[in-house]
Every structure is written in C-alpha cells, then in structure tokens.
Amino acid sequence: MCTLEKRGHVYVLTLTGSGEHRLNPTLLTSIRSHLARIRSDTASDPNRPAALVTAAEGKFFSNGFDLAWAYSASTSAADRRRMTELHRRLVADLVSLPMPTVAAVTGHASAAGVILALSHDYLLMRADRGFLYMSEMDIGLKISMVDYFDKVLCAKIRDAGTRRDVLLRAAKMMAREGVRRGLVDRAVEGGVERVVEEAVKLAEEMAMRGWNGEVYKKVRLATMPEVWKVIGEEEGEVAQSKL
C-alpha cells in the first residue's frame, strides 16, 4: 500500500510494491492518513523544518484510478463517487500541507496519478523511463475529467500548446520534454532510488530554509486560487465526475 518514513527533516511517503499503484479508496485513505499524521506531527511548531517527498516503487508512479475495481459488478456508483471524492480530498490535503512538497515521479503516471504528481510544489522525474499521460481521450468517454482535474492542470500548465497536447492529444510526455514544457523541474538520470535521493535532497534543502509552515501554505494557496475554490470545501460532492 504505502509507507511513511523520515529521512532527516523530510517525510518520505512511498507507494509500495511493484504494481500500478492504482488509486482506489483503500490506497487513497492510506495516503491521507499518513498526511494526517504528518500534519499532526508538525502542528505544534510551524517553524520546525519539514518537507514531504512522495515516491513509488516499481515501474509506475501511479496509473490513475482503479478502473477495474470501479467497473466491477460489486462496485456501485456511490462507491465510484467516493473514490473520486477521496482523491479530491487528497489533492486538497497536499496543496494545503504546511511544508514544501516534492513529487519523485519514479515511473509512469496517468490521469489521476498525473494530478497527484502535479499537486506537489516540485516535480522530479526519472529521465529514461516513464511518462506523464492524461489518458482520458484515449480510453474514450467511460471516464471523463473530474471537475477539479482541469483546474489543477490549468494552474500548473499555462502554455496553450502544452495544455492542448496534454489534454486534447493524450500526449505521453517523458521527463526531458516535461522540463522543456514547464511541467517537470528536473529529469534525473538513473533508477528509482536516484530519483528519490535527489527529491529528498531538494526537500531537505527546502526544509532548511526556515520558512513558517502556515505562511508557506497560505502563499501556495494564493498562487492557485481557482484550484482551492473547487477543492477546498470540506463537505459535499464537489467532484462531479462521469464515473
């Protein structure tokens, strides 16, 4: 599922195992509870150095929602809505986390997995393997974009051509292209461990800048008001999806 460890001042959240790390309610809840732990850990002292790295084992960072589960006979529409709602709340947790966040995209990221990665302040990606891919167009209309997906994409991708390629062309973007087009901060040579190492190093650097966590969070939210408007609500089914 996922584990949480501490390296120096950096919390490292790892999606474990060699699978696709499909985001179903179980995994989403697990990730959220780790983030809640981090939040309660740091609540008493917002000036204490801290940062988050989210990483994954194996060939995939996350291949998106668990569609096999979502469309199995035993899954209801309400279950599907719960899954997207949990994902929405996870994005809200991440963008309101009172510390710098780094996504170590160690493998393929698709759809909801791309949104997960983009919900971090910094994005490091493995150079030679793995791509970012909004798969919705390719898999047809069974799934369409969840409401806040496009808010996150629009906040993080301002270039019109790149938006078109990512959303309307279902482009598969590898690390170096991601860097060129402004989605990725750094393409890291080497394997999964190297990417995580670099991510932890960057996170530690950010943690040691001495920023107040609450101020940091407020500044981050101010850079993406449209996103927060849509996902910031506590209650209710804000995530309108066609699942």
């Binding site: 906040a155 991708i157 301002r158 402004g182 101020v215 500044v219 850079t223």
Partner: protein, 251 residues
Amino acid sequence: MCTLEKRGRIFVLTLTGDGEHRLDADLISSLRSALATVRSSPSSSAKGGGGAALVTVAEGRFFSNGFDLAWANAAGSFSAARARLGSLVTLFAPVVADFFSLPMPTIAAVTGHAAAAGLLLALSHDYVLMRGDRGVLYMSELNLGLTFPPYFMAVMREKITYPRALRDVALRASKIAAKEAKERGIVDRVCGGAAETVEEAMRLGEELAAKNWDGGVYASIRMSTFPEICRAVGLVEESDEQKQNKVVSKL
C-alpha cells in the same frame, strides 16, 4: 525622492539618490503626484496629441528594495509594526492602479536590485528591461514570514505566468538575475550595465511613442488584459458602452 522630466516624447521618472529607494509614505506620495502630472499633461490626452511613453529609472545600486521596513519595525510593538506595514501596503495600491491605468506605454529600466514592493513596482510596467551585469529580482516575503497582500498576488499571477517561475518567485523566495528572469518570462530584455539599460529603455520608449497610439485606448486595452489586477487595486472596469465609444470615436 523622485523626479519627473520630459525628454522629447518620453516622461522619465527617476528614483533619485544612492539609497535603497525604500517605498515609504513620502516616496509613494511623490510617485503619485508625478504620475498625476504625467496623466494630466496634454501629450498624454486622448485628444489626438502625439504619442508618449513613460520610463522609470533609478540611481545607484537599487531599483527599489521595497517598503520601508525599518520604519515599520521602529513602531515599538509587533502589532504597531504590522499596522505600519499595513498602511504602506494600502498607500501603495493606488500607485499600482495609477500605472495600470496610465494612458501611455510604460517601461521599467531595472538598473539595480528590485525586491518585494520594489519588484511589484517594476512588474507594474508594460515592459521590463534589466541590467545583465548585476542585480536580482526577489520577493522576500516568505523569508520574512509574511504572506502577500492580495493585489501583490494578483500582479504576480498575471505577470509571471509560467507556473514554476511563479513558484520560484513566491514560494521559493528565489533571487533571480536578469538572464534567468528573461528565460522565465519575467523581464523582456537583458541589457549591459545601468547606462545601457536606460539607453535601451529610452529607445524603446521612443519607438512606442512614435506609434502615436491613443492614450485612452491604450489604457483601456491594458486594463482589459489584466482584469484581476485592476479589480484588486480598485480600478473600475469600463462598461461595454464606454469601450464602444472609444471605438466609435475613431471610426
């Protein structure tokens, strides 16, 4: 403080002296009256007078290092200091409004460091030229434990559009030199030293003034381009009818 002169078609606004050109109540008031003079001058009117442009330059090592925090902190208590800083934030918003509604093209010749409100001053211009040999752009707020006033955020969001550039400026408190600033879309041009920067800014000013654009139309288009900023600093958007009138009067 600051001086205003006219060289040909160019209004030149100079932040004078060797200091940090800290934005205190006096300098802010001085800027406002200079901009009022520019606005009311016949050549900037929409009555078909010749085109004009405004170039802002600074003497010394700094363009502007932001609000006068020393004055704010001398208030005696934490809350009094906050109140003083708040007053400067409030006083400065109309300066930003003046720039965004100025009826002529504006060019900032960033001849030295521009930090916090000083960077905001630069970003309030249509064109930003920066010396390449020295000086950085820097939003210090995160390092000082301060959040941004909403109109600061609006200017940054609408003027620094690459998400990772905005992240680095606001959320990383990066100090960015000219070359990187150009790559990240924050400045238009990297010049040589201070003198070259001013020269190029003047030349660009001349080029733009020679287009003889109607100042009222220019301001109106600029405000439509940055609706969020205008809303944040209290610039009322024109009605469609007012915009129509500007079109009709030219036809």
